[in-house]
Each structure stands twice: as C-alpha cells, then as structure tokens.
C-alpha cells in the first residue's frame, strides 16, 4: 500500500500530468505537490504524485555507495 513508483513528468495541464516509466504511461494528479516541472521525477501512488525526487540527493546516495570501502 505504501508502494510508490518513480515516474517522469512528460506533460502537464493544471492539476493533471502525464508521467512515464519505461513503456508505462499514465495520467496522474499533481495537486499534492507545489511546483512540478516537465522532466521532474515524481513518486506515483494511487493515481497521485506524492513527492518529487531530489536528483542531487539521488546522485549523492549512489556516489557514497560507490566510494564506500566494504
């Protein structure tokens, strides 16, 4: 139930946006977020975007893991 999928915003109009992940495209509602732009990645849950992915933080997490000594 907590499941949310990262999807990319490809177009938007008012409170609606079209998002894409791989071959899956879907129309969702973005009313729970303040400013969503084309190219943003959002977490999609039950037909809504519930949060934006912070690309910088995402990159940093992977960098930390890559540089980590086991």
């Amino acid at each position: 139930m907590c499941l949310g999928v990262p999807m990319k915003v490809v177009s938007k109009r008012g409170d609606k946006a079209e998002v894409k992940s791989g071959e899956t495209k879907r129309e969702i509602n973005i009313a729970l977020l303040k400013d969503v732009g084309i190219g943003d990645y959002v977490i999609v849950h039950a037909g809504f975007a519930i949060e934006k992915i912070n690309k910088e933080r995402a990159r940093e997490t992977l960098e930390i893991l890559r540089e980590m000594q086991p």
Partner: protein, 364 residues
C-alpha cells in the same frame, strides 16, 4: 527504469552486505529490526536480502499493511452496503479477498453485487459522476500516504457539488501504532526501519516521540540498496552512540515532509480512535471526515455502526501476533495448510503486502 534500477545494483548490494557483516563481526548478540511497512517485507524477500545478511540480524514484520489491520467489522459493513439497492462499491484491489465474518467482497461480487476495483479515489468519483442515479461508496483504506489522495477526491467532490459520492474511512496513522509497539514490554525491537512513503508525507520530525524509547530508527527507501543501507545505518547507531531518527531515503523524504499533503489531511480529516486488527483500539490513530464534509461520509449517511466489543478473529489465526512482530507466519497452524492465497483465512494472507502472503510466495 530510472531511479529504480540503480538501487538494485548487485555490486553495491554486495559491498553493503560486506559492510554489514563487518559491523556485526564477533557479536554474539542478536539484532531484531522491525520493518514497519509491508513493502519493505516484500523487498526483503523478492530480492533475496536474507542471504546477504548475517544470521544474527532478524527482520520482524510490523503492522504497516493497511489492509491487514482493517478489522472484520469494516469488511462486514462494506458487504452489507454492497447489498443495498443502487449501491456501487469502489475499492482498491487488495480489499477484495479479505475475509469478513461470513464472506468477502470478492464472493459478493460473484453473487452479483456491483463492486468495482479502482486505482485511484478519483476514478471512484468519476463513476459517481457517470451514474447519478446510483450511490457510490469508496472504501478509503490506507495510511498517511493514501489519505491525502482521498482528501483531494473529497475536495473535488465538494467543488463539483457531487451528491452521490461517499467514502467509508478506515484510514489509520502510523506513529500512534509505533508508539504502542514501543511501549509493549513483550516486544524486543533493537531498531525500526520506518516506511518510505508514509514518511514522505509526514516527515522525519513526526517520529521524534521515538527518542523517549531510545530505539534507533532509519527511514529507508523500498529498493534493495535502500534497505541494506538502512540496516547499516541502524547498526552504526547501535554501535556508535545515541539512538536517533535518520533519513536514508533522502532523495524523497524531508524533515518536515510534504506540507501541502499534510494541510489537505488537516483540512479534510479529523483524528479519531481506531480499531486495528491484532493491535486492538489505539487512541487517536484513525482519520474520519470533518463535520463540514459529513455529506460524503458513508458512516453518517448509511448509519453504519461498529459492534462493541469488536469482533475477534478466528481462534487459530495468528495475524494479530504476526502484525505485532511476536510470531512469524510459520508459527501459525493455518499457514500454508488451510490458509493459502487462494483460500485466505486472515488479512495477512490476503493482502499482497501481508507477511503471510509474502512468506508463502517466496518461501514455498
């Protein structure tokens, strides 16, 4: 798939696994970490993370499966509503097979009741718009991740002056349940792996009450690297000092959470006591529609009453104990014998995020 595949990288998982092994090297003690959310349980099994962890780290499944903790009387009431004239019941898919006292929504649909699975509460609202002579009830089940989405549907229903749309709320809040678990002296939890997307909404600061219990906690994402990094962070906390609440999933979760979503929650819902299957009544752990939205409240409109005292589960069903982390599915006499995904006896087997369903899928 971007922002998914990178967090499933096996080389990095292996590195984290070795780091975790190093952290507990030489320890004779056991570590019991509770992963609150069913989605974490699923990741743990789906990606075979058990094999990457040392034997003395045990993961316990918690009550973070909203379908699993929905009590029997809610299902019975939903079935009763389904039988009323001109009603359309709309619901998320995983509620369909949850057993009530005598039947399930799935069985009732087979008998001819109009029960429809929807992906979003807005879909239910559309059905109401297209069927003005019918009354549409949406079964609003979910935690803080889902409740704001229903809040938007209610506001939209009010804006469009829709008269035939109702929600029957079973919404629940995670922090009060965690508080109750932390207070239970029977449970031995060395750390919490906190839910990713509930936390995206409520923020890290919502868990500050855990400081009182000195239990380390990490908000971890749902991908394998997220969980492994989260476990490493818990171990670091235990070894190097004061327990705190950390965010591993910082690409999504903020300290203050999603304020707009929180405002929607406050605007549409009021906090109430709630009955959790397996945990009993937890004060101020549920959400009900505020008075100004009572026209959309199915409980009000259809005069739904819950039985007092609440109905008890079938005797041998261990779902309650499993949700508290006191037992694992294999401890239940019904598991995989009488209780299977095709013939579930309790909610933990029905929901795709229920412990029993996941154990059954990945262990047999």
């Amino acid at each position: 798939m971007k922002y998914i595949d990178e967090y499933r990288n096996f080389k990095l998982a292996d590195k984290l696994s070795r780091r975790i092994h190093k952290l507990v090297d030489g320890d004779s003690r056991n570590y019991n970490f509770m992963e609150v959310c069913g989605t974490h349980t699923n990741t743990f099994f789906k990606f075979g993370l058990r094999s990457l962890l040392p034997k003395n780290i045990q993961l316990i499944s918690g009550p973070g499966c909203p379908v699993c903790v929905t009590d029997t009387s809610y299902i019975d009431n939903s079935i009763r509503l389904a039988g009323l004239k001109d009603i359309i019941i709309t619901t998320f898919g995983d509620m369909m097979q949850v057993p009530g006292s005598h039947s399930s929504l799935y069985e009732e649909r087979a008998k001819g009741c109009d029960i429809r699975i929807v992906y979003s509460s807005l879909d239910a609202l559309e059905i109401a718009g297209h069927n003005p002579s019918r009354e549409i009830v949406f079964l609003a089940v979910g935690f803080e991740t889902t409740a704001p989405t229903i809040g938007i549907a209610i506001l939209e229903a009010k804006r469009r002056n829709i008269k035939n749309f109702f929600i029957y709320s079973a919404h629940k809040l995670i922090p009060p349940a965690l508080k109750q678990l932390s207070e239970d002296s029977d449970i031995c939890i060395d750390g919490f792996i906190l839910p990713a997307h509930v936390s995206a909404i409520i923020g890290r600061d919502a868990y500050d009450f855990l400081k009182e219990f000195n239990i380390p906690a990490v908000i971890a994402g749902f991908e394998p690297l997220d969980m492994l990094q989260g476990i490493a962070m818990l171990l670091n906390q235990l070894k190097h000092g004061k327990p705190k609440i950390e965010i591993q999933y910082d690409r999504v979760v903020k300290r203050k959470g999603n304020k707009k979503a929180q405002d929607i929650l406050k605007k549409v819902f009021a906090v109430s006591d709630a009955e959790w299957r397996g945990l009993g009544n937890i004060p101020r752990s549920g959400l009900k529609l505020r008075r100004q939205f009572r026209n959309f409240d199915a409980e009000n409109y259809f005069k739904i009453k819950s039985p007092r005292p609440p109905l008890k589960d079938k005797k041998s069903c261990l779902c309650g104990e499993i949700l508290k982390g006191k037992n694992v599915p294999e401890d239940c006499r019904l598991f995989a014998r009488v209780c299977t995904p095709e013939n579930p006896k309790g909610p933990c087997m029905v929901s795709s995020e229920g412990s029993c369903s996941i154990y059954y899928k990945y262990k047999t």
